[in-house]
């Protein structure tokens, strides 16, 4: 939880009793929890940017749990999901797990099992968050490059020598050297291999 943002456990279950008891259980170990009666409520709510996970009932009125999972995937929201259900069949479980669910729990479940899974999901999400944050930073740096510098960076990471880059772009070798220096500086890369790794993450290629 290096970002310092508080972790949140979202709970969606249409059964009020179930919803309240899970929220209470999560809060009893000192985690923050928010609960919703259906998927629409969850989708229209303001959500914090910190690490989070979703405890999701499979059967829901309106959008079902599995549909919500697909919806979130399509929208690019990568929140770890823990499914809970009254009775699970194998195809349902397989579908949910294939789509990236963290765990599939059958009601009634052991409290410790749920809490363990929630912890694992939050850990996983905070790592993802960290990666996301680093990538965002890299993108910010890359955005600061001029069009010419980007061209040069693309050619540099493809392994070309300054002389070759100069011929390719129709510029003098000196100009290329200066551009190259700016690129290393702006991207905060200490070495060529590090720049290549950055380009890889940014999917910059030539």
């Amino acid at each position: 939880m290096s970002t310092g943002e508080a972790a949140t456990v979202f709970i969606i279950d249409d059964d009020a009793g179930m919803r309240e008891s899970i929220q209470d259980l999560v809060e009893s170990v000192g985690l923050h929890a928010e609960s919703f009666a259906n998927a629409q409520e969850f989708l229209s709510s303001e959500r914090s940017r910190g690490p989070s996970c979703l405890v999701l009932d499979v059967r829901l009125p309106g959008i079902s749990g599995l549909d919500l999972q697909q919806e979130l995937r399509r929208a690019g929201v990568r929140i770890p999901i823990i499914f809970i259900t009254g009775h699970a069949d194998i195809p349902m479980t397989v579908k949910a797990m294939k789509s990236g669910a963290v765990e599939f729990l059958t009601k009634p479940f052991r409290d410790q099992d749920l809490l363990d899974v929630i912890q694992r999901a939050l850990d996983r999400d905070s790592v993802a968050h960290e990666k996301q944050r680093q990538l965002a930073e890299l993108k910010e740096r890359y955005a600061a490059l001029s069009a010419r510098e980007r061209e040069v960076m693309g050619l540099v990471v493809s392994g070309m020598l300054n002389k070759q880059i100069a011929a390719e772009l129709g510029a003098s070798e000196t100009t290329i050297k200066i551009h190259r220096g700016h690129v290393m500086q702006k991207m905060q890369a200490k070495s060529l291999p590090e720049l290549v790794r950055m380009a890889d993450k940014l999917k910059v290629s030539h």
């Binding site: 249409d14 059964d15 009793g17 179930m18 309240e20 008891s21 899970i22 209470d24 259980l25 809060e27 009893s28 170990v29 059967r59 829901l60 009125p61 309106g62 959008i63 079902s64 549909d67 009254g86 009775h87 009601k107 009634p108 479940f109 409290d111």
Partner: protein
């Protein structure tokens, strides 16, 4: 339903008379491919069109190509003109026949030899073409995208800027909407203001548009933009426009992404989707594919087109493909056969087709294949053995069906059950399994056949002929007893005579009856040589044998054989069958051969005659077998009349009543003329140089179904004496043609033999050389003329000599003959004439002959002559001529004129015949008839004399007075006017009949009385008068007035008919019984019918009537009768009848005594009513009452079963919540310090959840109560709704359905059975949930007050809605739309509500779904 209507409109509106059979897969069509790599055209064909002259035009990247099915000829514009670009993007033939050409650099059109350009769009890429219903031509232009229209004066373009880069597709739907696809999305351009629809999913554009089966617009989409290559990405696929939104259009069975390029609907209604990976074909709910691996020229489909003959053409990046229908289609592995190598075919009456493959017996049924495998081992677990394995989408395999070993022969028994014989024995198929026939040895079984007496004959190579029933073998005859070393390969039971025909492997047939060979035939008797492969019984009772040496016919001991000498295409016949139209089908080594009924009849009556046959070769989809191979069943006829046969690669079928026939005569063209290597245009009057040695004329005919079968007839008039006929040869060659004008005529017929009647011709001239001038020919002509003149002179002399001879003959003949000039004056009279009249030749000449005519007759004779001379009509009269002795005798004179070619009379020729004797006899007859007539006139009766049947000659005075007709009016057919119009035809018909047979005439007819205009009935009788040879001379007839009798008859008939009808309608018969004589003088017709007897004329009770009284009722009935008869009492009785056919009837009989004045019993009059129906109805009502009660309980139990799993979940829910809360509670308590507040809250929830679980169980218990009688109590309806909601909440959320209630507060209570109300609500709500189970939705339950003190409760869903016209049916018992439903739910609900005094009905919602309403009367508040 809507989709179906759509399709039928589409199919009906297609004008083309030809179409493919939509039930077939692409791979079942005849396919031909032309490949660019093999020299066909030069580059990719982007578009195909057909102009009205019949040519197929191909637009390629190297220009336009014309194609006649054989040769592709590059098209060149007229000299000095050119297309904007040779890269053709699209072609279109407009309604007026104009060919529109869309190119890389602009638009052009071609009509009547004129090429037109469109400068407004010169230089731009034209991508698409469309002509709308009004005839306006639209086209799409690229960079920037514009939509343009060609109008009369100029070309106008629209939408620059709003279409983005390009407009790749245009389409007009069936409602007249003009659609344009653009880079910016889909536009509905006209009519009205343009509407725009965005395509979801990134830079996408529609490449092709078409209306789908359901009427929605379909589009083939792909990546848009200038460099859109054939990249398969997420954005490709079919999409459709529904409700203003563009959505993905999924094809059943097609998973993953594919890139559609073209959409096309053929006239059979199928949808063809061209993709970057081959063809997809959507037809009758199924999809099949065809790609390079199946033989397609290439995988990237560029265009799809259907020509006038119904051929479908597909162009790909690598060539051109044609698909057409075969006369016979083949079912192979592609269509579900377990392997394509199959042999034998058998058709059972249930419509199944059976064939044998290496891995088992295959059964084709409704497009599906069931394989009865042989790989199984007996004795395994039956349950798993019989499990059906779906191995291919169209194939099911039954692992252990009871069939063992390899099957060699198939046959049928009399019940139409399939028998299969092979290595492990003989089996028959019954109720889905094969049963072994005990005691019948297996081995090399050759044939099996049922014989119509319940038994089956089996031919076994090693064992002999076995006669068997399903229970086992009954008889065995070794082959040696037939005098044969070989075995019978064909068996034919002769159902007419009861014997069995056998056809032997090494030749010969034998007839076996009652265990003895009655007759046998072989080659020496005229039978075809070699193996007898098949036997069939013809409809005329003849036996037909398919032999290696022809088709033999055996009838009444005479054998005749049809061979290639009589017109068969070859000799080896594998199998023979007769179709429903009595045509014969022979499966032969050289194809499938059809012999028409009439042809065969002709051959039967004269076995030397040659016959015409229709032969289906491989180009018709028929593969033949060289040898029958010892199998007798290579053809079969299914119950629908189709002929099935067994080629080596599947099972083929042809429908004799739907053979594809091309009735479009092919257009014919003379393409060019070549003289000594130099080409000349085929313009009329082409002039070729003198002394042209070799002249070649190229011609063609445009039929694309099978160009190789096109036949041509051609003739060079003046050179060829007769027409020459060639097949698919498209060039004629002539050498050393003399100089003159020529006309070359050519015509052609298509693959079905339909000729173009007009054909084509070309006039050309070969110029003469200097010595080939006319001077020389004129000289020759002069010499010939001189010769002819000499010959003519000789001929005239001969004619003169002949005339002299004729004159001598006339002089000596024994008749009076003469000739006269056109003015009548005699030029010649013969010797007889002169001898009779005693006149000299000079006296008779001119008009002198008149002196011999009786003075009284002369003026009449001269008048006759005058008329004939004026009109030229032949002359004909009778007159007295004076003989040389002064006596006059009667003569009959005839004369005819001789005319020249112009019709002018040249001469009269005449003869006079002596008729004196005849005249005298006539006079005598006339006198005696006159006397008779006077007599008749004075007789007071209506008498007539007729000549030939109805033609009257005389009617007596009484008759004339009655009818008011004059004597003249009664002559001939004048009397018809007084006959009643209804009687006339019958009356005349009888006359015609009697005139022919000469029988006495008798008829009753109405004639009109003149006095009052009334028609009265008469009996007309006439007898013929004959001469001594028996020839009828005339008829004498009398008419008798029978009006009174007729009226009495009719009155009686009417009253009898009324009584009969009344009895029949009421099922009441009547009778009279005399106890004293024990006789029944009268039994009504209906009574016979009630007792099940044939009505009898005498109307007396049948003797066995009392025998069919039910034995249990007989004694009682007899006693009742005896006692009543004794007391002379009126009485009734009820008893039953058992009819001879076993029918049971209930009778109610009333007996009424008739007493005389003294009170003595005369007889009983009685009626007997058939009350069976009434009795049955009473019993039925009782039974239904019980059934209804049973079903109501069953329904409730069924619903509980359905609910069980979700109820388990429902109870699980509060328990899980309670456990979780308990854990949380413990954790709060375990904290340091313990959080007692939170712990208490958790404990409170545990208690609440526990209570919830208990509540659910309580509700369930009340609902489950069974057997309790209905108990009415005061019920709060909202409370009942709440109870059911608890039970169904989970079921609803499983299907993503939200439950909503709108319950009116403080409703009055109702007096009702709580459990029954729960049942109704649960039924309605489960129905609603069911209706929405696929896509979720909302279920709303409302309660409210209604009029007249009723409560109204309604349950609304947002599901499918009511099934349209079936809305009324849903309340019927056993009507269900659910796969597992009993169909009782709604019926029971309705009867419950009606028992409560309410009403239950359903309505369709305005938006979506349906609402069920019911009312119940509210209890009035005290």
């Amino acid at each position: 339903m809507r989709a179906g209507a759509w399709l039928s409109i589409l199919v009906a509106s297609s004008v083309c008379a030809f179409a493919l059979d939509p039930s077939l897969d692409i791979s079942q069509y005849a396919h031909t491919a032309w490949k660019i790599r093999e020299g066909f055209t030069k580059g990719t064909i982007f578009s195909i069109a057909q102009t009205p002259d019949g040519y197929l035009w191909l637009g390629t990247e190297f220009g336009l190509v014309r194609f006649d099915g054989v040769q592709d000829i590059p098209w060149r514009p007229p000299d000095g003109e050119q297309l904007p670009s040779n890269w053709i993007h699209a072609l279109l033939v407009a309604h007026d026949g104009t060919l529109w050409i869309a190119t890389e650099k602009g638009l052009a059109s071609w009509k009547d030899g004129k090429l037109t350009g469109y400068p407004e769009v010169a230089g731009s890429v034209v991508t698409s073409l469309l002509q709308d219903a009004e005839g306006t031509l639209w086209f799409g232009v690229r960079d920037p995208g514009r939509l343009c229209a060609v109008r009369v004066a100029k070309t106008q373009c629209y939408g620059a800027g709003s279409f983005g880069w390009s407009v790749p597709a245009l389409y007009e739907d069936h409602k007249g909407n003009l659609w344009a696809s653009a880079q910016t999305g889909l536009w509905r351009w006209a009519p009205g203001p343009p509407e725009h629809y965005r395509l979801p999913g990134g830079p996408v554009e529609a490449r092709a548009l078409i209306q789908g089966d359901n009427g929605a617009l379909l589009m083939a989409t792909g990546r848009s933009g200038p460099h859109a290559g054939p990249v398969i990405g997420l954005i490709d696929g079919l999409k459709q426009l529904v409700g203003g939104k563009i959505r993905r259009y999924a094809l059943p069975g097609i998973t993953g992404q594919f890139k559609p390029t073209r959409l096309f609907r053929s006239s059979d209604g199928s949808l063809w989707v061209g993709t970057a990976g081959g063809l997809l074909h959507l037809h009758q709910g199924t999809i099949d594919r065809f790609s390079v691996t199946d033989g397609l020229s290439g995988n990237f489909i560029r265009d799809i087109f259907e020509d006038r003959e119904g051929n479908v053409w597909v162009s790909t990046e690598a060539g051109l493909d044609r698909f057409r229908e075969f006369a016979a289609s083949t079912v192979s592995e592609n269509q579900g056969l377990s392997t394509s190598a199959a042999y034998l075919v058998e058709a059972t009456p249930d419509g199944s087709i059976w064939t044998i493959t290496a891995d088992g017996l295959n059964r084709l049924q409704n497009g599906h294949v069931i394989v009865y495998g042989k790989r199984s081992v007996p004795g395994q677990n039956r349950e798993t053995d019989e499990r059906e394995l779906i191995i291919k989408p169209r194939t099911t395999e039954i692992a252990n069906s009871g069939l063992q070993g390899t099957v060699y022969a198939l046959g049928q028994d009399d019940e139409g059950r399939l028998w299969a014989g092979g290595s492990e024995g003989v089996f028959y198929f019954d109720r889905g399994r094969f049963a072994l026939v005990p005691g019948v040895p297996g081995g090399n079984i050759l044939a099996i056949a049922g014989d119509g007496s319940g038994k089956v004959w089996i031919s076994n190579l090693d064992y002999g002929l076995v006669h068997s029933t399903p229970e086992g073998a009954v008889q065995r005859i070794p082959w040696a007893e037939f005098g044969h070393k070989d075995a019978a390969v064909a068996l034919l039971p002769d159902r007419l005579q009861g014997g069995l025909w056998l056809g032997f492997l090494n030749g010969g047939i034998a007839y076996l009856k009652n265990g003895q060979i009655r007759s046998s035939y072989n080659v020496a008797n005229g039978l075809g040589v070699g193996s007898v492969n098949d036997l069939q019984l013809g409809s005329d009772g003849a036996v037909w044998a398919a032999t290696e040496g022809g088709l033999s016919r055996v009838k009444d001991g005479v054998v005749t054989t049809l061979t290639s000498r009589n017109g068969l295409p070859c000799d080896a016949v594998n199998s023979v069958i007769e179709d429903n139209d009595h045509s014969f089908w022979l499966y032969m080594a050289c194809g499938l051969v059809r012999i028409a009924h009439s042809e065969l009849d002709g051959w039967v009556s004269d076995s030397k005659r040659s016959i015409q046959t229709t032969v289906f070769y491989s180009s018709d989809g028929v593969r033949s077998r060289a040898l029958a191979g010892g199998h007798s069943r290579l053809v079969a006829k299914s119950p629908d009349g189709k002929i099935w046969f067994s080629p080596p690669d599947g099972v083929s079928v042809t429908d004799p009543r739907h053979l594809p026939f091309n009735n479009l005569p092919p257009p014919v063209f003379v393409r060019q003329i070549t003289a000594d290597g130099k080409k000349y245009d085929p313009s009329p009057g082409s002039r070729l140089p003198p002394l042209a040695r070799d002249v070649w004329i190229d011609y063609t005919a445009l039929s694309f179904v099978a160009p190789e079968k096109v036949r041509f007839r051609f003739k060079l008039e003046g050179q060829d004496p007769d027409w020459k006929e060639v097949v698919n040869e498209r060039q004629a060659q002539y050498s050393n043609l003399p100089p003159r004008k020529y006309r070359f005529r050519v015509t052609a017929c298509n693959n079905s033999g339909v000729w173009n009647q007009e054909g084509a011709f070309l006039d050309f001239t070969i110029a003469p050389a200097y010595y080939q001038t006319y001077g020389f020919r004129a000289l020759c002509a002069a010499v010939v003329l001189a010769l002819v003149w000499l010959l003519l002179r000789l001929r005239i002399r001969q004619v003169h000599q002949q005339e002299q001879g004729f004159r001598e003959a006339i002089e000596t003949i024994p008749a009076m003959a003469f000739t006269a000039r056109p003015d009548g004056s005699r030029t010649f009279v013969n010797r007889r004439w002169l001898e009779y009249t005693g006149l000299s030749t000079e006296q008779a000449a001119g008009s002198g002959w008149g002196a011999a005519v009786h003075p009284d007759d002369l003026s009449r004779v001269l008048e006759k002559w005058r008329i004939s001379l004026a009109t030229g009509e032949p002359l004909n009269y009778e007159a007295r001529f004076r003989g040389a002795d002064g006596e006059y005798r009667w003569f009959h004179v005839r004369a005819v004129p001789l005319r020249d070619d112009d019709g002018k009379t040249l001469k009269w020729y005449g003869v006079a015949t002596d008729i004196e004797d005849r005249k005298r006899a006539e006079e005598a007859a006339r006198r005696s008839e006159s006397e008779l007539r006077d007599l008749i006139e004075s007789v007071p009766a209506m008498v007539f004399i007729a000549l030939q049947g109805p033609s009257n000659a005389f009617a007596s005075r009484r008759w004339r007075e009655y009818t008011g007709l004059s004597a003249e009016e009664t002559q001939g057919l004048g009397w018809q006017g007084v006959v009643h119009p209804e009687d006339l035809e019958r009356h005349m018909e009888k006359w015609r009949a009697c005139s022919v047979t000469g029988e006495h005439y008798e008829d009753e007819t109405r004639f009109r009385r003149a006095a009052d205009g009334e028609y009265r009935w008469f009996l007309v009788r006439a007898v013929p008068l004959r001469d001594e040879t028996g020839h009828v001379l005339k008829w004498y007839g009398v008419l008798t007035d029978i009006e009174e009798r007729k009226q009495a008859e009719q009155a009686l008939q009417r009253s009898e008919a009324y009584l009969l009808e009344a009895q029949r309608l009421s099922h009441i018969g009547s009778f009279i019984y005399n106890p004293a004589t024990q006789k029944t003088p009268y039994w009504s017709e209906e009574l016979f019918r009630i007792f099940g007897f044939e009505p009898q004329q005498d109307g007396q009770a049948p003797a066995e009537a009392s025998q069919i009284i039910h034995p249990e009722d007989f004694d009682r009935t007899s006693t009742e009768c005896r006692e009543a008869f004794r007391d002379k009492a009126e009485f009734t009785q009820d008893f039953r009848l058992v009819l001879h056919d076993g029918t049971l009837k209930h009778l109610h009989v009333i007996w009424h005594p008739i007493l005389d004045k003294e009170g003595e019993l005369v007889e009983y009059v009685g009626t007997a009513a058939d009350v069976t129906e009434r009795k049955r109805a009473e019993e039925e009502r009782e039974r239904l009452h019980q059934l209804e009660a049973d079903l109501a309980h069953m329904n409730r139990v069924t619903m509980l079963g359905e609910l069980a799993s979700s109820l388990a979940h429902e109870i699980n829910q509060p328990i899980a919540a309670a456990i979780t809360s308990a854990n949380a509670c413990l954790r709060w308590l375990a904290r340091n310090p313990p959080d007692l507040e939170r712990a208490r809250a958790a404990a409170t929830r545990i208690e609440r959840d526990g209570g919830r679980a208990a509540e659910i169980i309580q509700r369930l218990r009340t609902f489950c109560k069974t057997g309790t009688p209905p108990q009415r109590e005061l019920v709060d309806i909202n409370e009942v709704v709440g109870e059911i909601l608890v039970l169904l909440r989970d079921e609803a959320s499983e299907h993503s359905i939200s439950l909503r209630t709108e319950l009116a507060p403080q409703l009055p209570q109702i007096m009702a059975d709580r459990v029954q109300l729960q049942q109704v609500l649960m039924n309605l709500m489960l129905n609603g949930i069911e209706a929405m189970s696929d896509g979720g939705g909302e279920l709303t339950i409302r309660s409210q007050r209604s009029e007249h003190g009723y409560l109204l409760i309604s349950v609304s869903d947002t599901g499918e809605g009511l099934p349209g016209e079936k809305a009324d049916l849903i309340f019927n018992a056993f009507y269900t739309t659910k796969p597992q439903g009993t169909g009782m739910g709604l019926a029971i609900s309705r009867s419950i509500i009606e028992a409560h005094g309410g009403r239950l009905w359903a309505t369709t919602n305005t938006q979506r779904g349906a609402t069920f309403h019911f009312t119940v009367p509210a209890e009035v508040h005290q």
